[in-house]
Symmetry: C2
Subunit: 456 residues, 2 copies
């Protein structure tokens, strides 16, 4: 946790109702930390403490509350006048984020308490699909004309800037079309009478309103952006995405990737705020599916029951074999999943990826097979004195191991690429799924090798 | 891939040596994309194309080359004058990043070609540990005095701003100590004769030079920052970290987490740029370690050889049991690992986490055990007509399954927290490790249950 404050002391102040002193403390704190602190309080106390905050700060704190239930409770408790003050101070995109999590009656109360201009902006933003650039952009930006001078531009920023989410990049519009961007830095270094078109940057990066928000977030990381213009089909500027929202998207998407890779259906809430039932619901589907697909592995084992009975020692190496296969496969799949999501690898690289993984797999397979051969003869046979571990048995296990590693790594890199090609999130092709597939493959290889070498 | 350009057409222009036209095309491109394009070219051609770029752009492109071998090749090919021009245009922190990956002779050539002031800044930055705030900060920022007026501040920004990485947040210093920050936005909205101390923000966020760079990156995400001051032990401002570098750190750290979670020793290079041997070296250690620790599972299986021989059908359900246990465990461990790294969960939450996971585990265990009981009797016994699958056997499997899920989830959440407490990266406690531990646990539970219920 990054709080630089003594939360316990603050809690005591609140609970012993020493509000005057608490108010002084809160004034020195960052809005994000105040929001974290409020979320630790009981509902009634939260409202009292929230009312201690100066207007501007209150709105910022409100936007940073992580739990939409807390936001809803506050909205319900605030008077219309108080609510209006909070809403006035919020940026439009933050208001939209809040609205998206609220029930209809709260939404209509929010809309009733915003001015008509803001209301129409909110309605526009709400119309974009949830995962699109349109849904995370703001409509509050400074726009200039190409023929404006630097002095006029500064005049405009001074007049309008208070309400704009960023003023450092201004957007130059000709006939509603985006023709350039100019930074305040560039304007500060130019003469007052320079026309904007002489200093604006025309090498433009922009995205379409319907672009996937994950792609938008990746663009911020790739191009080191602080803001990115969003245009409609006709190249008209309709909004901008700012870096703070892009970072939030990046964190959310990465959490989703982590969850999918661990066979969890993504949940939208922080870990400790997710209820037990909700957590169970997010974990059961994949567990159930993977459990049932292990039936195939069971069938394979049953099919070779007689072979196993003839050479019982083979059973002892099954977990090692399937485990190593699963680990090898997930290494490859995770490496490819990450490379895909960083844009380091595309569909055109499929052959290069498979070729690389195949070579890595052969080397890993030889190395692991060799190590295991030595280990079986030294440890299992000599040290632990197990006479059943013959050279032939060790050979079976190690050849099967090497072959399994090769198959696992190739399957491990192919599955995410295949998913990507089909438009499925490659992250679902991580360890749990791979492990189940590789379990079956490795057993088939194992028994085929055993039948060949031992003649059982 | 996010390139908006036709790389193939550009490649053809370069290879057919139509440099005049290529130069025109390059001028319209983003520096990041030009760098990607250069890295596709053969070494000699890369140098020729690099020389086509205007000076300022060339330096930016140079900083964005991902492969340090390419950078080294370019540095070696450039004349001293050309190198000086590139270095002059680079920000100090970018130069330091480059230097960190170069051999000694190249480093000394770089240092010889920078002016003394920059050289001393570089040397200062190089002295910080690789993963610290000091190593990712820049020493180029605008500093003001509290008594400066807004007009004086703007004058200073105009004079010094060109060389500073960001001018939008200025740092207010009194007797070398950081006392406030003021944004250009705030200055633009204030009167020209207002003293800076009247409008500066004194609620300060800062980090110590030795703070872990991952914590720094997380602070940018949490507080929506664009820059963060770095101070020494005496509260003196020594540098700032900017949001673009913080985002790079975030991406690198997340890639490391992904790799560790897949039992890969983190590599610093993009997927396709990592050689086969290097990849093998990053994957073999954990595979080998996990393979050898599967010896325990083997020992357990050997110990129960007679029990298995008495009731061979039990073998068929081992992969399902260990697989489901492993998946349940990795769900919990990954959820906790992510919550830890987002700062949603701290050491003080250990009890809350275990209590939550325990309840989730019991519900999941009952649900999976029940589903499997029905499945075994319906599918395995009735549908596939396997007479060995008796109610008693189904009971053994399902009770063992439920117990395994509970143990797996509790172990799964405890291991990352334990690692965190010991200062080890919790990410190594993900699926591969958990799976190996849970394999052993689930077999012990399985055979204990079987011995009790079936009396074998």
């Amino acid at each position: 946790m990054y709080e630089n404050y003594d939360f316990k002391a603050l809690l005591e102040l609140a609970e012993s109702r020493q509000f005057r002193q608490l108010k002084q403390e809160l004034k020195t704190m960052n809005e994000v930390d105040i929001a974290s602190f409020l979320e630790e309080l009981a509902p009634e106390l939260m409202l009292v403490v929230f009312r201690l905050l100066p207007k501007e700060l209150a709105a910022e704190v409100f936007a940073y509350l992580e739990d939409s239930d807390d936001q809803q409770r506050l909205i319900n408790a605030l008077s219309d006048r108080e609510l209006r003050e909070v809403l006035d101070a919020l940026y439009v995109d933050d208001t939209v984020d809040i609205i998206e999590d609220m029930p209809a009656n709260v939404v209509s109360r929010i809309l009733r308490n915003t001015d008509p201009a803001t209301r129409s902006q909110i309605n526009t933003l709400l119309r974009y699909p949830k995962d699109s650039a349109g849904a995370i952009m703001t409509t509050e930006f400074v726009s200039l004309r190409p023929e404006d001078t630097v002095a006029q531009a500064f005049h405009r920023i001074r007049r309008e800037g208070v309400d704009k989410e960023t003023v450092y990049t201004c957007y130059v519009i000709r006939r509603r079309e985006l023709v350039g961007v100019v930074t305040v830095r560039r304007m500060l270094l130019a003469q007052e009478d320079t026309p904007i078109q002489d200093i604006m940057e025309t090498r433009l990066l922009s995205v379409h309103t319907l672009e996937d928000r994950e792609v938008v977030a990746q663009m911020f990381a790739r191009y080191d952006l602080t803001a990115l213009p969003v245009v409609d089909g006709d190249g008209r500027l309709v909004g901008i995405v700012t870096v703070d929202d892009a970072m939030d998207v990046l964190e959310e998407e990465i959490t989703e990737d982590f969850e999918r890779m661990a066979a969890i259906v993504p949940v939208d809430k922080p870990y400790l705020k997710t209820g037990v039932w909700e957590t169970v619901r997010s974990r059961i589907p994949w567990l159930l599916l993977l459990m049932l697909s292990a039936t195939f592995t069971g069938i394979i084992l049953t099919g070779f029951e007689s072979a196993l009975a003839a050479c019982v020692v083979l059973t002892a190496f099954i977990p090692m074999l399937t485990g190593t296969g699963g680990n090898s496969g997930s290494q490859s799949s995770v490496a490819v999943i990450r490379a895909l999501s960083l844009g380091e690898v595309g569909l055109s690289d499929t052959l290069a990826v498979v070729w690389k993984e195949a070579r890595v797999a052969v080397l890993c397979g030889l190395c692991l097979g060799g190590a295991n051969f030595v280990k079986m003869l030294l440890v299992d046979r000599l040290l632990m004195g197990n006479p059943e571990v013959t050279v032939a048995v060790a050979l079976v296990v190690c050849v099967a191991l090497a072959l399994t590693v090769v198959c696992a790594k190739v399957v491990g890199c192919l599955l995410p690429i295949g998913a990507h090609r089909l438009g499925i999130d490659p992250a679902v092709m991580a360890s749990p799924f791979i492990t189940t597939v590789v379990d079956a493959i490795s057993l088939l290889i194992y028994f085929a090798t055993a039948t060949q070498v031992l003649g059982i």
